[in-house]
């Protein structure tokens, strides 16, 4: 079944707006309507669901109909009729195409805190889109059913950039979030959407593992407003064994973001036995402090058994509390705990006077004591984009 914008918006209005207007978390309700997350029982198609095919950016001709993709550090060398590692870019007669432009498999409004962004337009909604595919394969992926699928396995919407922007505005979203899977693999779609969003007065927020080459990243930074990076570990071995990637390009990405002026936050998922040694967590906090400065929000998130890591226990909340304290002792001003609802580590405290300035419970703001981005108690400026 093809789902065009009209059907999509009809569904969205029916399922989602009530939630938006009343402030109810509609992620679950709308997911039933809008997430087509690679359920293999659902009809799938490789033609019906790949509506648009667009020439890719950032690749080079290697001759003999082979191409080298330059979008991410994997730099796949791809023969004719084959796809890159991410499964969403295909070589057809020596021309490289993206198969996910305008073909999101998920599209619905989310609180911006869910991304999580804690210092970027708090309390607003982000129209959140994803396509199939990823350039990593993290063994703990929460969205593996779509991230590790090819676009013909997911049920997709026909939503070119202009329709995404219009739908986001119709639904009172203040930003568009590129999320759930890895937006690097739908780069062209994200870039065009962010350009159109900016013209329409919407912001763009990228939720990424940061596994992207510098040139496309720099171009992206000119067009988006916020980036959240999942730093998976500070050990290359973890990247190799658990994510099928490399650490260094992610560190390079963080330094480029530091210099770009784009707002960015970091999430570190604490996975028991794999990246949770005291030394590694300390090294991570120190690296952030020394290379990026004290004001970058760093979220330590709780792991739950998932995908290929189903035999590990969830992270002990005490571990997260201890880690947060350790990182703050190193000098980081904004250290958070994720996936532990109601924990004090979900809220923001003024680094000078220590007062609670934003109280959060899960994805929702319960109290906001910032005045023009400053602590209402002592006047200290709190880093972030608040309006």
């Amino acid at each position: 079944m093809n789902i065009n914008r009209r059907d999509f918006i009809k569904g969205l209005v029916g399922a989602g707006c009530a939630g938006l207007l009343t402030g109810i978390d509609l992620s679950k309700a709308s997911a039933q309507y809008f997430t087509r997350s690679g359920n293999p029982a659902a009809p799938t198609s490789d033609d019906e669901h790949v509506f648009f095919v667009k020439e890719a950016m950032f690749y080079e001709d290697m001759g003999q109909k082979e191409v080298r993709c330059k979008l991410c550090p994997k730099e796949c060398e791809v023969g004719d009729r084959e796809r890159g590692w991410c499964g969403v870019r295909e070589n057809r007669d020596g021309v490289y195409y993206t198969l996910v432009y305008g073909n999101p498999c998920s599209a619905y409004p989310d609180p911006i805190e869910k991304k999580p962004f804690f210092h970027f337009m708090p309390g607003t909604w982000a129209f959140s889109i994803a396509t199939a595919g990823c350039n990593l394969n993290c063994k703990f992926c929460q969205n593996w059913e779509i991230s590790q699928s090819r676009p013909e396995e997911t049920k997709n919407f026909q939503l070119p950039p202009a329709d995404i922007v219009a739908t986001a505005k119709d639904n009172n979203c203040k930003s568009i979030a590129y999320t759930y899977t890895e937006p690097t693999v739908f780069y062209e779609y994200m870039l065009d959407t962010s350009k159109q969003a900016r013209k329409a007065g919407l912001k763009s927020a990228v939720i990424s593992a940061g596994y992207i080459n510098p040139e496309p990243l720099e171009m992206l930074c000119e067009n988006v407003d916020a980036v959240k990076i999942d730093l998976k570990s500070l050990r290359n071995k973890f990247y190799n064994d658990v994510c099928e990637g490399e650490l260094q390009p992610v560190l390079d990405t963080l330094k480029i973001l530091r210099d770009s002026g784009v707002w960015y936050e970091i999430v570190y998922l604490v996975v028991p036995t794999l990246n949770d040694s005291e030394q590694e967590l300390k090294d991570t906090a120190k690296w952030v402090y020394e290379n990026l400065g004290p004001d970058v929000p760093l979220h330590f998130s709780r792991f739950y058994p998932m995908y290929q890591l189903r035999n590990l226990p969830p992270t002990d909340p005490k571990k997260l509390t201890d880690t947060r304290k350790m990182a703050m002792d190193i000098g980081l001003n904004y250290v958070y705990i994720g996936n532990v609802a109601g924990d004090e580590g979900e809220s923001t405290y003024c680094p000078i006077c220590g007062e609670l300035v934003i109280k959060r419970v899960r994805y929702f703001i319960r109290q906001n004591d910032l005045v023009d981005g400053r602590c209402k108690y002592c006047g200290e400026e709190i880093s972030g984009i608040w309006n």
Binding site: D46, E77, R81, R83, D93, K139, S149, E153, Q308
Partner: protein
């Protein structure tokens, strides 16, 4: 290219440890069941005939049928074709004919060969409605000239995994491989694997082992190795892992009695896409039960043609198909790759033209 030792060690450790570090559900590895018992040499039968395909690529179905019947007789050591087919298949089998249709009409499994296989299966008593001709997608099948048939009528069925059959919901894992299998795989009780003899710019050659990439949802993950400057370069040393995953998690070892490699027209460079300047008429079929042995011999035929055409050997290049010998190692144990241990049988009227 050398196999990535670290990854291989990792894979071994993951399996060996029972409860692996990464929580991978352990499958037991296959016991060799695809070919003849280990003590006997696996046979690869080659049948070539100059009349089977002409210069305009017209294929004679009657000649194909005879070549195939002669080959299965030699393979099984029986006297009559019907006995050979009966030895290979039971009448109540649901047989999946896994064709290779990525490359359009010219370089995909030939309709005439598939037709001859269907006739052979019927002679063993397999009902037509229990024969499924399949590949990854409807689109590929149609572009290779197959007519789709989903009805349970008296014709063989023909359809791709997508749409609408799809993949198993559960992910199957073995070492570092994690994939979902086509639901067609679990539906069938036996298979005929019908690869095409051709070069592959990422794997070196694509033959019977590589053809199973069409049975998983994420072949793109396994086309690359990272061993050169950490870049994703061609080299398909995951192929044996994918085969092991299929074998161990689906009982495929018992389900794969026959491989019929289409070598009527073959391609020695710039595959798997069709390239008319790199194809030649070989006019043959390769028939075996051991995928490793068949791939070893197929590689030799392609190497021989490359030498004849003035091309470099694949050996020593980044795409040297090491995966064939890896498939034969003690860990994967998918078949025999040592040339001296393979029994080559000529069932045609031309020499096989090996290296």
């Amino acid at each position: 290219m050398k196999f990535d030792e670290n990854r291989r060690d990792f894979l071994k450790k993951s399996i060996g440890a029972g409860l692996s570090l990464y929580g991978i559900t352990q499958f037991s590895l296959p016991i060799l069941g695809t070919a003849e018992a280990k003590s006997t040499k696996p046979s690869v039968v080659i049948a070539r005939d100059e009349k089977v395909i002409d210069k305009r690529f017209q294929i004679d179905p009657a000649v194909v049928r005879k070549m195939l019947d002669d080959s299965v007789i030699k393979l099984t050591g029986t006297k009559k074709a019907v006995d050979a087919w009966r030895e290979l298949f039971r009448s109540d089998d649901i047989v999946g004919i896994k064709v290779n249709t990525l490359s359009g009409r010219r370089m995909s499994s030939s309709l005439e060969i598939v037709y001859a296989i269907v006739e052979g299966l019927k002679s063993a008593g397999v009902k037509e409605k229990n024969i499924i001709i399949w590949d990854k997608s409807d689109r590929d099948l149609e572009s290779a000239g197959f007519q789709l048939n989903r009805k349970a009528n008296n014709d063989p069925r023909c359809y791709g995994t997508i749409p609408p059959i799809g993949y198993e919901k559960d992910i199957k894992m073995l070492g570092s491989i994690a994939s979902r299998l086509s639901r067609i795989v679990s539906h069938c009780t036996a298979f005929v694997n019908v690869p095409v003899l051709k070069h592959h710019t990422m794997a070196g050659v694509t033959l019977s082992l590589k053809n199973w990439f069409g049975a998983i949802n994420n072949p793109n993950k396994y086309h690359f190795d990272t061993s050169v400057e950490k870049k994703m370069v061609a080299g398909c040393n995951y192929i044996p892992d994918v085969n092991s995953l299929l074998f161990s998690s689906s009982g495929l070892d018992k389900k794969q009695p026959l491989i019929v490699c289409d070598a009527l027209m073959a391609q020695y460079d710039m595959g798997p896409g069709y390239n008319p300047r790199r194809t030649w008429i070989y006019g043959g079929l390769m028939v075996a039960r051991d995928p490793v042995a068949l791939d070893r011999i197929g590689l030799e035929i392609i190497e021989n043609k490359r030498r004849e055409a003035g091309f470099d050997s694949l050996m020593g290049t980044d795409i040297q198909p090491d995966y064939i010998s890896i498939a034969a190692d003690n860990f994967h144990d998918l078949g025999i790759d040592k040339r001296d241990d393979i029994k080559l049988i000529n069932a045609g009227n031309l020499e096989p033209e090996l290296l």
